[in-house]
Structures are given as C-alpha cells and as structure tokens.
Symmetry: C2
Subunit: 489 residues, 2 copies
C-alpha cells in the first residue's frame, strides 16, 4: 500500500506529512542517557518509542541513520549551569576515574536496552569524544556575535539572539516571561541574563574533566554536544530530532538557537517528543521513593513491585499508550499488559493448528491496512494493538469453528503477525527459552509414556502424568491430532 | 599464602617479581581491536590471556584499572604510514559513515567477548574520542625537538631520538639494521628516514575523517593513540602494557619512544606479549582461506571446521597453552579441549555426591598451592590446568572408593574448584542452560513415574522410560540415594 506517514511536529504544533530531506535517506537524532547511574523506567520510554520510529521507517524502506548519544560529560547538576558535573560527582564519591563510571553505566544501559529488544543505533557518539567538534561550533557562534566571554567561560547571548531569531519557537516560551520567572542563582554573576546558557565553562582546579580551548582549560556546556554531534553525523539540517518532553526546554530550544547562531538556519525538520511517565499516578522522584530502575523492574526487587516483570511486558506496556500521552505504571496495569501480550502470542501460535475452510466468513486482510493506518498516523501503536486484539479474537473463534478462514488467509496472517509483532513492534516471545529442544524432547518422552499407558488401559498412570505436569504448570489438551501441551501462567 | 607473582617482562627479557608502582593499585593497558571487521581467532587470544591477568590480579587483592582501547581511526593500511585508513576504506565500500562501521563492529566485538566470558575493561577509550589528548602529546614531542613537519604532516625523528635514547630497547632491533632493511615506498618522500613514523597526517581532500590541528586538517598516527590514552587514564608511568607479539614492533617500540620524547622517561614497567596462533600449522592469512572469525567458530560455519564450538571450548583451549607459546587451532585439538573441560566440570559436580570418610587417603589441599604456584609463575594456566586434571582423577577415584576424602576435604574442594574454574580461569559450565528449572521439574516428573512403575513391578515401563531418555541423551543411574540423571555428550 501507499503510505502517507504523518508525524506530529512539536515545532509546528501539528501533524505533518513526513517528507525526508533526501529520500530514501533519513537522519534521526535522539538524546541518549547521561551515564552516571542506572537507567530507570523513565529511560525506557524514549528508548522504546524511538525504537518504533526507527523500526517503522526502516520497514517502510527508508535508509535510516540513527544517532543516539551518550552524555558522559558536561551535564551539570542543576539548570543554572553552575552545578557540579553529575558524572564527576559520582566519580569522586566512589574514588573512580570518571571514565570508569561512564564505562560501567554505559554497559549496564546497553544491557537494559538489549533486554527491551531496542535496536542499537547506527552511531552512538559520546560528548567527551567530540570536544573538538564542540569547540569548532562555538567558534562559529562567537564569530557571528552570539556569545560573550566571562572569566574564561563563554555564554550564549539569548537576548541578542532573540532580536533576530525567536528563542522560544519550539517551546512557545516568550523571553519576557523568562525574564520574570528565572531566579538569579548563586554563581550566575558571570552571565548577562539568568537564562543565558554556557557554551564553554572554565574548569575550577578541583574539576577532573577538562580540555584545552582557545578560552580556557574547561569543558563544553550540555546543550552543545547534541548540536555538534547531530551536525557532524547527520548534516547541518536533518530530518528528525527526538527526546523526552522534559528536554524540550531549555535543551532543544537551545539546540535550535545554537544552530541558527552558527549557520543561520534551523537544524531539524521534525521535532518529536515523548510524554512522561508516572508511578501509581505520581511523578517519579527520589524524594517519593518511586525511582524504579530497569534492573529492579526486571528482577522485581523494588518495594513498590509485587513481582518481577519480563522486559517484554514493559515494552508492550509502553506501546499500549501513544508516545505523546502520559503513561502510568502500576502493578495492575503491568499484569494486564502481561496477559494481553500473552493473548496475542497465543493467537499467533494458534495459527499453526487452525482448521481451514474453502471459504472465509470474515475478511482478515483488512487488519493489515488498519494496523498500517494506525502507525502511519504518528506511530499510533495503541490503536494498532487494539486491532491486533480484535484479530486474535477472530483467530480464537476460527479455532472453535465459529468463524472460517481459508488456507491462504492463515498464511497471510502468519506473515502479517510475524512482521507486526516481531519486526515492527519489536516484541519477543517470552516463552521462547522454555521451549528449548531439550524441553520439547522431554515432553515428547512423557507424552509417549502416557500414550502407551492409555493403550494398555492404564488410565490411572495416564491421569497421574497429567496431574504431575499440571503441578509444574504444564497443561495437556487431547485433540484430534493428538495431545497438545502448553505452559500455564 | 604469600604470593610471589612473577611476570615475564619483554623489556627485560626475563621474569621479574611483580611490584606495582602504587600498590594496591595496578594500571594495565592492553591494545584493543581495530573495528573495521569481525574479530577472528587471533583476537580471542590476547583478549582471553589478559582477561586472566586482570582476573588474577583482582583475585590477589589488587585494585586494577584495566584500559583496553578501540582503534576507530588512524590505523593505516600498511606499515609505511601512507596507506588508506582501514576504517574509512570499509566505509567507502559500503557507503557508510565511518562511525557506522565503527559502531557495528564494536558491538559485534563486545558480543564475541561476552561469549568468551571476557570481563569488560574498566575503561574502553576510542582513538577518535581523544584527538585533543593526542594533539597535546604531539606538542610536547615537538617542543622537545623530536618531531619534524613536512607538507602539513608531522613525523617522529627516529635518528635524532636514537642519539639520546634507544629506539629498539623493547624489540631488540638496531637502527642500523632498520636502515638496511626498510624499503623506500611511494609516498615516503616526506620522511627523512623510511622508519620515521607519522604523529599527525595531513588529510587529503577525499579523506572523510579529519580534525583541525596546529599543523593541518588531518588525523593522528596509529602509535600515538595508545600513548595518549594510556597516560591520560593510567598516568605517565604505569604498571603493565599488554598486546600481541605482532604489536611489539613498531607499535610498542614507538610508544616507548613517544613517551621518552615527551616526558624523558619510559611509560611502562612491565611489557607483556602474547604469542600468535596458527590454524592447522599455518599462519592465519586471507590468501590461505584460513581466516576464521569468532562468529564462524561459534556457529561452525567455516569450511575448515567440522562442527560448531562453544565459546567456552575456545577459552579453555587458549588457556591450555601458555600465553607466550604459539597455539595451533585444529578440529582435533578443539574436540580434545571440549572433552577435557567436560571432565573438569564432571569432577566438580561429582563433589555433590561424593562418599566421605573419617580419614583421607590423599592430601588434596596441596593442589591449591600447586595451582597458585603455576599462576604466580607468569600466569602459567596450562600447568594449573594439568594439576586440576590430576585432581579430577582423584575425585573420580574417591567416587568409586579407591581413595578416601573427609567431609572437610570435600568442602574445601568445592570452594577451591569454584574459585579456580569460575573466578580465575573464567570458565562457565556450558550445560548450565540445559539445567533450567523446567528441565529439572520435567525430569523429576519422569523419574516419579518410573519409580511408581517399579513399585507396581511394571519393569517394562521403567525400562522403556530409561531407553526413551537415552534416546534424547539423558542417562539415568540408580544409586543408593535414588536415581541420578545427567546429559551425555
């Protein structure tokens, strides 16, 4: 089918037809993690949401270069730009070289992402690995007059920039309001305005991470890295920039400002933002004791969790809400997602043993179109999943002969569901590991013994075997084609 | 016990007592992969060899900072310094951004290393991420007069350096011989001597990977990255530098020269080099069609392989030779390693069901000392493994009551073998995944059915069950404590 992919562009505040700058190539940049601690539930959402964008664009035939950075320096402790570097702080506490902290948490982040079946980005650049590129970008901004130096540090001149451009075009904030609402914090005396942001900070003597620059021995500001790495790997203007809504201001707003100040044009055609998550209706925060790391979720070790959740349950749960809606985590909601996903996989497996007829009583091909339409409408995964639930109901009806499908329909459904569940939604069958060759062989052995007991009219043994299996959560159903077994929850 | 760890120091051409510069800290740098293709058997050897060094030093209580780099730029095609960048060449062929190639092969290298159970290094810096550090190091060398500029490129002046220092102190090569044996190659006209090496190369217009520098838009020479990253993360002089013997000259020799030229002292106290591997007695090489990647080994997909080999077989095979000896891969040798490792694990598992006596007929505690002595002697893993084989023979003798051990001996052996096999040698029990909870439960179910058949004197069914299990490679032994089952090979 012809796809008319529409993407909600935060910059335009509306859905727009997706027209890449240089098809079939698509450049996509998504803000990655700051690696000074374990990823939590909040990190799973952008990772999974933009994984769907990456997978779907590739599915549509685009050649996507997906850049997701690692922030390993320059992300300051508070918005006022004068806090301590988060990574360095962690390093001092644990008496580690900052780059040991970076390596440790980067590896753990990758393990979490692999567990969630998030595809690796095409390029995963680090901020510390692109200091030269950041310095070169600052030089352009300085040359164009939008930066000023103060005690060895360089700041972006927001007021001057706003005279020619519009600082606030992405977030909708107006500089007049910013003036009223920004508190003057300690250490900000270097800045002309409280909302000016650092491009380069002079390092104080106790700062471990610093590099030489034309202005001082120091380190780059946080907003700068994404601008520098985005343009290095995707060009001066690229197609998609994604991230969480919490990054919209000041981070992404400042990226736009930096690009215009350096090159007189916007850096990105489509800005995409995923919404936030809540835990039992509350915002996630350290003080509320509801900061749940992904390892804790997967192992069930946080006090708020009543059980461990398979990473695929988390992935499915995230996909059951649209990426621009808020999403509330709770044990009940996760258990419901677990069951829902199992229903879809059960229907998929049922296709292998479905009775077929010469004529169908229901049109299943329409579901492919419905699912594509949902994804073409700003990656609306919950609507696509709702269609898949409806389809699974029909498959179950066919199984109990309330509806009929042809052999061709069944082949179509196998292909369609395999494509949608595994390739596009990126789900994995969580029971796969339990269906290893050895388990299949052992079950065959047991069912053979049971069959022979039945032939010998030893029904006591046959029933006994069935009960023993039920004790270890395996159910045996006798069908016309012989006994079928499956795991129960 | 008191450990007197001795390490063969290539620089001194003898084994020396290991005395770290600032105990309990140990700084170790090992040359990592150039990520322009999949890792092959040759890459497994340094990775596993220095993993043992890392594990054993940590076991002895040292706090080790282990740096293993990723070469993602600057490794030129041939020794003459004027070849094309390997990564860029690959990128052009596949129409990829070089950093996409880097990301792809870095991820695959990590997967291979995880399969071999090689611990992650503490820091894994990239060459492209340390351009500033390399430029700063060159500045020092220039300032001290050991570099000269030529057409925008900078070269290390080996002749001048050799007047004050000794270029050849590590490799034993003499500069007079080098003069006679080095051919003058095309493109070397920029250099004073054919054996001078590039510190910074000016990029020609078609070169994609380049950075600004005081001399030209260009890229650093290969030898430089290890010098720059080693000193950044481990200091001007650190304890151990490792790598393959093929890197001894010119790479490591030049690292020593760069350090002396910059700071007037040697960079490393102990230089360690692992020997090379051969395949069926031949050197590995693309023209001989015996370039076997690790993925091919693990999947058994190379024409020279008669089967797939578990990564643990490869690891065990590497450990069965001393790291400074050559090592020949062949199907027969790998199959022997597979069986040998299985024997060790069988003995380890046998400890759980070993008959115990009040008095022992053999002293097993001596094996701990013997194994430690082997590792203290320049990490002599083959000797340690030979002791473990001897010990496994004794465990089998105890099992058939030809020898006796006390309960205390058995506990000691459990602890000792667990420590040596898993923690120090880094082996994993390859059958672990087959002993999942579900398999254990299914076997219990089957053995229960068999037991009840026996009680009912239905020996036909009991024997039938045993035969069915034998068909799927599970053997059941009836012992005094009840039936025991295990997988057969």
């Amino acid at each position: 089918m012809e796809h008319q992919l529409h993407i909600y562009n935060t910059l335009m505040r509306k859905k727009e037809l997706f027209e890449p700058i240089a098809p079939p190539h698509v450049g996509m940049y998504v803000c990655g993690p700051t690696v000074y601690g374990d990823a939590h539930l909040g990190h799973a959402r952008p990772a999974v949401s933009f994984d769907i964008v990456f997978r779907y664009l590739k599915h549509l035939g685009y050649k996507v270069r997906y850049v997701r950075n690692i922030t390993d320096v320059g992300h300051l402790e508070n918005d006022a730009d004068d806090g301590e570097d988060k990574i360095q702080k962690k390093a001092r506490i644990e008496q580690l070289e900052p780059m040991e902290v970076v390596k440790y948490f980067t590896d753990r982040y990758h393990q979490n992402m692999d567990a969630l079946n998030v595809l690796h980005p095409s390029i995963e650049p680090t901020a510390s690995g692109h200091i030269i590129e950041q310095i070169e970008l600052i030089k352009k901004i300085v040359k164009n007059g939008y930066a000023y130096q103060s005690n060895g540090s360089l700041y972006f001149d927001v007021v001057k920039y706003n005279k020619k451009y519009n600082y606030g075009k992405l977030s909708g904030r107006r500089i007049e309001e910013l003036k009223q609402n920004t508190r003057e914090l300690a250490g900000q005396v270097e800045k002309k305005s409280s909302f000016d942001f650092a491009l380069w900070k002079k390092a104080d003597p106790k700062h471990i991470m610093h590099w030489p620059s034309p202005w001082s021995e120091g380190f780059p500001g946080w907003h700068l890295e994404c601008s520098a790495m985005g343009r290095k790997y995707l060009g001066d203007t690229f197609d998609i920039h994604g991230g969480g809504m919490d990054l919209l201001f000041p981070h992404h707003e400042s990226e736009i400002a930096q690009a215009n100040a350096a090159s007189s044009h916007d850096p990105v055609k489509y800005w995409m933002h995923n919404n936030m998550i809540t835990i039992n209706g509350q915002k996630m925060g350290k003080s509320l004791c509801n900061f749940i790391t992904l390892y804790e979720v997967f192992n069930g070790t946080h006090a708020l969790l009543t059980q461990a959740y398979n990473p695929m349950t988390i992935r499915f749960f995230i996909l059951q809400a649209h990426y621009r809606s808020t999403l509330d985590f709770s044990n009940d909601a996760l258990k419901a997602a677990e069951k829902g996903m199992a229903r879809l996989f059960d229907a998929y497996h049922l296709l292998n043993e479905l009775p077929v007829a010469d004529n169908a009583t229901v049109d299943v091909k329409v579901f492919e179109q419905k699912c594509y339409e949902a994804l073409d409408d700003d990656f609306n995964t919950p609507v696509a999943i709702a269609h898949l639930f409806e389809l699974s109901k029909i498959i179950n009806q066919v199984n109990i002969r309330q509806q009929k499908l042809t052999k061709e329909d069944v082949y179509f459904l196998k292909y369609f569901l395999k494509t949608f569940l595994f390739d596009i939604l990126g789900l994995q069958n969580v029971e796969q590991t339990d269906n290893s060759e050895i388990v299949v062989n052992l079950m065959q052995t047991i069912l053979n013994i049971r069959k022979e007991a039945k032939i010998k009219k030893d029904f006591e043994t046959a029933d006994h075997i069935r009960n023993e299996l039920a004790n270890i959560h395996i159910v045996v159903k006798d069908t016309k084609e012989g006994p079928k077994w499956s795991f129960t929850k």
